[in-house]
């Protein structure tokens, strides 16, 4: 969930009133926001870098507000205020309009070279904007929030904002060989080639995260003006030449990306949020984008979409009984201008360009419920009549757990993920013999594979509890995972039961006795007959030669028991003899 940090006093001034922290928290809760933290710049710096560094930092109170991940329109102070003011019916939702300039429209020409690296571009102009320090900061911060969220760390969309008066159109969006791109990047004093920049930014804590997006491409995207001045090399960096400042009057905004829909949404969000400060409030000057196929489109789209929703659908989904007029009012408070039409049972809802999250009637239903107040909804129980049943494997597991504890064994709960070493080397097996499922992106060795046996987890549990009095008798009934090409995903779980006895003597008879008890519980009699169980001498890891037997029950091999090999004991950092038993529970269902 993105967190937006706003200055409290600035927020209250914009809201036209003050709140206590509790009141504001309550308002957030009702609206679906969360007042996550009340802090200040000074506090943040002192927490992260110590008191000394924080000296002199601002004491201005900051509200950190958690915003739902799909509400891009609430990612800055301007949007938050607008949303809350409309919600509280203090203002009407502004109408955003696209205007065509009286003079020539600014053009962005997209060349076909971009197709392989970053094919889409959109653009718009904010004309006669009046920044202040706070507005400017908010403008920059919104771009960053959008980059981190909907833009997927600039991979899907990257935003560039430029001082229109410093460059001259038409602009070209193309892709060039990195060695052919040379410009002075933002906040640098000399020119670099794109190759040089990629190297320099490898050590830049902020920009290094974006390099991978174009690094291995033969051509890098670049936007130039008619004189060849580089505006930006998306998604990495803008040029210094067209840099905007607090004094910039006219802003040219371009969004490039690999996802056209998201690029349009991002552009709409930026211009709807900041056209508030334009001379003609909430108007945005159009720009024309010419695509390689020669077709041209005008942006921003600022599309208003109309949806028809039945009143009874809303009432039925929420569980309320409101009049059509009230429902329309509720929706209007959520920035969705609505009116009752037709037979009086239909509502026409206008989805503004700021609410790209509304893609289905269910989104409208939710907004009606939020405006109604979740906590005002009458709780009722559904009349759904059902007979419960347990998943048979879990039912058997539950029964066995209780009786294994009654047999004096203590239940462990170990991780399903582990290292290759745990299930192979340490048990004296080759990893190829385990049939294990391998993870491609483990952050540490502890998550290399899914376990194929429960034994390592139990041995590690003992190793972590060596100070406990002996004997240690542990068990676990849980799933292991093995590859199985007969399953749709190519792997399956298997419910295992494992028990270990750790003491000064191996206690094979105790583990053997536990097996006898388990078979008794499962109503499997001893004996060779079909339906009975026997154990037969067997060999192989992780057991000590001559101290291992295979368990056959109901005509199939279900597992092994025995005394662990001293090498296994040592590899798990244990010192005492240990006997163990591991069986597959599924044949006993």
């Amino acid at each position: 969930m993105p967190t937006v940090s706003v200055k409290r006093d600035l927020l209250f001034r914009a809201l036209g009133r003050t709140y206590t922290d509790e009141e504001f928290d309550e308002l957030c809760f009702e609206f679906g926001l969360e007042l996550d933290e009340i802090t200040s710049e000074k506090e943040i710096i002192s927490k992260e870098q110590g008191n000394i560094k924080a000296e002199g930092a601002s004491n201005v109170v900051l509200y950190k507000i958690d915003v739902p991940a799909n509400r891009y329109d609430l990612l800055c102070l301007e949007g938050l205020v607008r949303g809350l003011q409309v919600f509280k019916e203090r203002i009407k939702a502004p109408v955003y309009t696209r205007v065509t300039p009286r003079g020539e429209i600014h053009k962005l020409i997209v060349t076909e070279e971009t197709a392989k690296v970053r094919p889409f571009a959109v653009a718009a102009v904010l004309r006669n904007i009046k920044f202040t320090k706070d507005r400017y900061d908010s403008f920059i911060e919104l771009q960053e929030k959008l980059h981190q969220n909907i833009c997927r760390k600039r991979a899907l969309v990257a935003i560039g904002a430029h001082d229109l008066d410093s460059v001259s159109g038409p602009f070209t969006y193309t892709a060039k060989r990195p060695s052919d791109i040379k410009f002075k990047p933002l906040n640098k004093t000399k020119e670099y080639t794109a190759c040089e920049l990629m190297n320099i930014y490898k050590s830049d804590n902020h920009l290094k995260h974006y390099l991978h997006i174009i690094e291995n491409k033969p051509l890098y995207p670049v936007i130039c003006d008619s004189n060849g001045v580089v505006l930006s090399m998306p998604p990495i960096i803008n040029g210094n030449h067209s840099k905007i400042t607090v004094n910039t009057k006219n802003v040219f905004i371009e969004c490039t990306g690999t996802d056209f829909t998201k690029a349009k949404i991002v552009l709409d969000i930026i211009v709807t949020m900041f056209s508030e400060y334009c001379e003609n409030q909430f108007t945005v000057e159009a720009a024309e984008v010419v695509f390689p196929n020669g077709k041209s489109h005008t942006f921003p789209e600022l599309a208003y979409r109309k949806e028809m929703v039945r009143v009874d659908l809303i009432n039925k989904k929420v569980g309320i009984r409101e009049t059509p007029e009230n429902i329309a009012k509720l929706l209007t408070r959520m920035y969705l201008k609505s009116e009752v039409i037709g037979d009086g049972n239909q509502i026409e809802v206008e989805i503004p360009p700021t609410r790209a999250d509304v893609i289905h009637a269910c989104d409208i239903v939710e907004d009606a419920a939020i405006a109604y107040g979740y906590n005002n909804i009458q709780m009722t129980l559904p009349k759904t009549y059902t007979i419960a049943s347990q998943f048979p494997l879990n039912k058997l597991t539950e029964l066995l757990r209780y009786d294994l504890a009654a047999a004096g064994f203590t239940e462990a709960l170990t991780f399903a993920l582990c290292s290759k070493e745990d299930i192979a080397d340490k048990l004296g097996l080759a990893i190829s013999a385990t049939n294990a499922v391998h993870i491609s992106n483990p952050k540490t060795a502890e998550f290399q594979v899914a376990r194929t046996t429960l034994l390592p987890g139990l041995l590690k549990t003992i190793a972590a509890n060596r100070k406990m009095p002996l004997p240690l008798k542990l068990f676990e009934i849980s799933d292991i995972v093995i590859k199985d090409s007969s399953k749709d995903v190519g792997a399956r779980n298997c419910r295992h039961l494992c028990a270990v006895h750790y003491n000064k003597n191996p206690g094979f008879e105790i583990i053997h006795g536990l097996l006898d008890r388990i078979m008794q519980l499962l109503d499997v009699p001893p004996g060779e007959d079909q339906g009975g169980y026997v154990i037969r001498a067997a060999d192989g890891p992780p057991f000590f030669p001559g101290r291992c037997a295979e368990i056959f029950a109901r005509g199939q091999s279900v597992g092994k028991l025995g005394v662990l090999h001293p090498d296994v004991i040592t590899k798990f950092e244990l010192t005492m003899p240990c006997s163990a038993l591991e069986i597959n529970v599924e044949p006993f269902l």
């Binding site: 939710e366 559904p382 991780f415 998550f447 972590a464």
Partner: protein, 508 residues
Amino acid sequence: MAGGPVAEQLLRRLEVVDGGLDSAELATQLGVEHQAVVGAVKSLQALGEVIEAELRSTKRWELTTEGEEIAREGSHEVRVFRSIPLEGLAQSELMHLPSGKVGFSKAMSNKWIRVDKSAADGPRVFRVVDKVEDEVQRRLHLVQGAQAEKLSEKERSELRKRKLLTEVTLKTYWVSKGSAFSTSVSKQETELSPEMIASGSWRDQPFKPYNFLARGVLPDSGHLHPLLKVRSQFRQIFLEMGFTEMPTDNFIESSFWNFDALFQPQQHPARDQHDTFFLQDPKEALQLPTDYVHRVKRTHAQGGYGSQGYKYSWRLDEARKNVLRTHTTAASARALYRLAQKKPFTPVKYFSIDRVFRNETLDATHLAEFHQIEGVVADHGLTLGHLMGVLREFFSKLGITQLRFKPAYNPYTEPSMEVFSYHQGLKKWVEVGNSGLFRPEMLLPMGLPENVSVIAWGLSLERPTMIKYGINNIRELVGHKVNLQMVYDSPLCRLDVEPRPQRTQAAA
């Protein structure tokens, strides 16, 4: 009565001393083996608070077998010296004496003897001095008399190097009076026996009073794991509410079922390498339900079922990628898909509790795997009010009665609500679960009827367990680093009964 005469004497002496006494000293005083005193201490300890015994280890010097021989018969060099008569002795002969070799070189370096190599029948050894002091023997006598401290560090280490001395650690008890001290314990040996019952002699026997302040002896027993005890209770609650358990025994899931089927777009951050474990082997799912996949694809890319869709190019290879499931909702999706294939539609209530996996950075409250609890109800005409009603019943069975609902965002539920409960200990509202109505874009491609709503909620099993048992570090609860003592000591899981005040602050 356990302990016998030694215990009795121990108690009597303890009664009159100030402070306490040392078990080794007592053994010497009583003239018994130290082990006998230790036995007495242990048997008295078993009675509870009669005595207190603190284990102490003291280091002590003891003679080795060779050292004892020397203490008895003199050092090798002295024995050599003594064996040489005035007229001297042939060196070859001397070397055959038991102490010959060692004693000769030592006596030489002490300049007690000399060798005349010019003698006619080979080298001959003569005394140089008239009398010698057996310093080694004297020192060993000191050690024997428990006066090793009179020797200097250097002297001791020299003797140790000659393997005459060895340092042993002696474990002794420092015994003092316990809170229920009494000398009488040893006098009354009587406990009711079958013979007494048979003969009636119990009528005449004095019985020692029991010490009810003492702790009993805990039975040998196995124990269930606290987290799984809580799991059992949650299963019980769902079963009481008529919910059927879904199969969840598939940790490996395709991205299709884990994300796409839930209308989670392919660029969603949850599908990032940093959040999800992807598989190297088996890398991709082998089969996906073709027709259904097609409907899902269309809904994502173009919309449909009343939806605008996400309008991006949906890729099959992305959906095939295998992952370790990040939520049990993947299993719920499979269950709902199966339900949708059965005609006519029958209402269901489903639940599951099982492991899920996240490629997260680990800390005191986050692990790479945890358990998710999930409840699902599918029926005609379910409402948000129904969801809240079911949640109220569910949470009241957990002893949570003060609930509040906050609007939230989930990719696959709309409307969505976070569930908050008022935490008495923390004096604030804390999130206890997440819930919502599954999106039509998820349900309709499965083939569920249009007027069927599915309400669902989820929470983690670890969090309520940590709060219940006052555990602050999740690693003490889940995984091999578990504290087994905590497992042994954990009480029954009664979710609807207030836990006793915890020593530790409830987990945040």
